[in-house]
Amino acid sequence: MIEYIIGHINYWLIVAIMMVGLYTLMSRSNLIKKLAGLSMFQTAVILFYVSLGKVTGGTVPIISEKYSLYSNPLPQVLMLTAIVVGVATTALGFALVIRIKEAYNSVEENEISAMDEKE
């Protein structure tokens, strides 16, 4: 039982962070906060992947004569790509927020959809 918990608690905490991120994204009306939530959600997924690659007693995957056990490079490579995709999405999101602010003079989703309804 204890072993099961020790082996899994890392993943459970990551799941909890994902949930907080998604909740921030869905429950908040402020567009910037939504993007922060989105970013947290993505980061938690990235953390999950990198955890998959960890090997106990292993070392950084740079070949050297001193070590024989290395962590898995593949999840790390995938996540480098995912981080870049994440920042690209966030940047585009912020650009949209600036334009929305100029067009609606608000960054609150409630107010904006109320304005859209009126038209």
Binding site: M40, V50, V60, K101, E102
Partner: protein
């Protein structure tokens, strides 16, 4: 030992995420968000992923946070309104469902650090075994990134270019257009 460090950092991270959720002051949120990224970068170091940590520190703490601050500066609005209309039950239910499903899924996942688990035994084994020999690069992350999965990286660079083009399309014109007026005036 590293597991303890890992757990402590994860708990900090959770607290930071909750703080981002709770704070109403958006500039404070930007700072907390930067801290969140920094903690994640720290976690990556503990997980033996210095390349990812490097990137996260530079991107999450650097670029993302700076862009968030610049956005906040340009919209000149540092506070989140207390919204009353937006229902919070539905998001909560969805998040709990998602969390439950994920925990159900991770039931039979290999324990953290298990060297015998599938991700280490299959494809990755060959990268570690032959990576340096085949590419001449000792940093396996670079080897896989640039050669074995070089096409992914080409896609990644294209994503960066796409983001640049997208932002230029949105914010590139020097004068601030009032979109509404343009559509009416035509």
């Amino acid at each position: 030992m590293s597991l303890v460090v890992n757990l402590v950092l994860l708990v900090f991270l959770l607290v930071m995420a909750l703080a981002v959720l709770k704070t109403r002051h958006l500039f404070a949120m930007a700072m907390l968000f930067g801290l969140y990224s920094l903690l994640v970068a720290g976690l990556f170091v503990v997980l033996d992923a210095p390349d990812v940590a490097f990137t996260e520190a530079a991107v999450g703490t650097g670029i993302s946070t700076v862009l968030m601050l610049v956005t906040l500066a340009s919209i000149k609005d540092g506070h989140e309104l207390i919204s009353t209309q937006k229902s919070r039950t539905a998001p909560l239910i969805i998040c709990v469902l998602m969390g439950g499903l994920l925990i159900y899924g991770t039931h039979d996942i290999a324990e953290l650090g298990d060297a015998q688990s599938a991700p280490h035994m299959q494809v990755a084994a060959r990268y570690i075994e032959k990576g340096q020999e085949e590419t001449g690069v000792p940093n396996l992350v670079t080897a896989v990134l640039a050669s074995y999965r070089g096409f992914d990286t080409l896609g990644e660079v294209t994503v960066v270019l796409t983001a640049g083009i997208g932002v230029l399309m949105l914010l590139g014109s020097r004068k601030k257009l009032r979109i509404k007026e343009v559509s009416n005036g035509k």
